[in-house]
Amino acid sequence: MTEPPDPDPILEQASDLFDEGRTSADPAVEARIAELALARALIRDVAPPSDAVRERLVSAALATPHLVSTRRPARRPVAIGALVTAAAAAVAVVVVLGRSSNPAPSASGHRDASVVSTAAPTPGAARAPAASASAGAIPIEGPAASANAGVTVTAPTTASAATTTASASSGGAGPLATAAAPPPAPSPATASSPSEILALYRALAAAPRPTAAPPPGTCAVDGAFYGPVRYGGVIGQLWLVTNGSGGRRLEVLATADCRSLGEVEVP
């Protein structure tokens, strides 16, 4: 690759005139404009994709799960302590499966859980919806815990999570905020490669799944939230997304802006 030269004054003038759709009385400039016109014609002479390629491109894009941002345009200031406690409560895993354009709840009830999962703004609220979220949670046929291949996982198996699950399983009508103190905030699991994302998912899928919501005010995905994860040094969220043909993919989305940090197909 060559660093382009500074254009000579004639070419520079021709380039400007060409872009403005003008001509020049100077034959030298006009000759340059003609060159530029030919170059443009060559650049535009690009063959369209074949029908097969076009179909493949469109199909692949249509099969992509559609992420929905739930970031609020303006957030009310919240005390730092409340945020920390809410985050601690939110690290537990809620299982919400099934990306679908169909707004109706799926047979498995996953969409119910997904709705609940987007609202947990306070420590109390983070615990309160546990019963309904748990009721909507559907186990994923996850590989065994032994699949955790060398990944440091801080699985969300906290005492408070166990408490909320027990409460939910007893009918969900009892007092939910019986835990005297908020649980300690666990560190996010760490992964640095797609294979480690997969191993992390397998470990989390094999662990008991308490009920909680994704961190409030960030991303919501038509999929299963699997808790916070630090990927490539960036704090993110681990999601399991199922496409229309049943394929499953893990995605790590940056908590700050929902951009994709990494993804891997689930075999």
């Binding site: 690759m1 060559t2 660093e3 382009p4 030269p5 500074d6 254009p7 000579d8 070419l11 520079e12 380039s15 400007d16 872009d19 034959p27 030298a28 000759a31 340059r32 003609a34 060159e35 530029l36 030919l38 170059a39 443009r40 060559l42 650049i43 535009r44 002479d45 690009v46 063959a47 369209p48 994709p49 390629v53 076009r54 493949r56 491109l57 469109v58 692949a60 894009a61 249509l62 992509t64 799960p65 559609h66 992420l67 929905v68 941002s69 354009s101 707004p103 929902c258 994709s260």
Partner: protein, 186 residues
């Protein structure tokens, strides 16, 4: 015919038909941009697919401050520049290895011309190539190109002029250009 903005709005709330219409409307231009920036069909296919997937995923983040097409070009250009960066990290033929000047008489003019322009564009650094292609293929103005590439408009103008200078030099022995220059009385 529905406007892009209408289709975007419908697609955002789950209208799959609108999303499909949007994708079909723009797939050729996404592919064409990728083809010109990457120089070969295989990489263009891959980058176009990445770009379209990124469009679907990012539809909710499209803020409407630019036209949908400009945003689409930004997503596509980024996908192509990513591909070029990946390519630079793996061994392969260098642009300088390409025979820029030979015009194979066995090839039809159209195919030969396409090879010529691919070879010539391949000699431009990606940022210059992107500026020239966004101008000459996509018809974006300097301000739009500046928004796509995230650089000042003045830099766009400079990159286009310098990119064209190198392109003209590389294409100088293209038969059409050579004929024009020899016919030029000046």
């Amino acid at each position: 015919m529905a406007l892009d903005d209408d289709l975007v709005r419908a697609a955002r709330v789950g209208d799959r038909a609108a999303l499909e219409q949007l994708l079909r409307r723009h797939v050729d231009r996404v592919h064409a941009l990728a083809r010109r920036l990457l120089g070969n069909e295989a990489d263009a296919d891959d980058a176009a697919q990445e770009a379209l997937i990124a469009v679907v995923r990012g539809l909710d983040r499209f803020d409407g401050r630019s036209s949908f097409t400009t945003w689409l070009y930004r997503v596509t250009t980024n996908a192509c520049l990513d591909e070029l960066r990946r390519r630079s990290r793996r061994p392969g033929p260098l642009a300088e290895d390409v025979d820029h000047g030979r015009h194979d008489p066995m090839l039809s003019d159209g195919i030969a011309d396409r090879a010529e322009i691919d070879a010539a564009l391949a000699t431009l650094p990606p940022e210059f190539r992107a500026a020239v292609v966004l101008r000459d293929l996509c018809d974006l103005d300097y301000a739009e190109i500046a928004a796509v590439l995230g650089i000042p408009a003045g830099t766009v103008r400079s990159r286009i002029a310098r990119g064209r200078a190198l392109l003209a030099r590389r294409l100088g022995n293209h038969p059409d250009l050579t004929r024009r220059q020899s016919d030029d009385p000046s």
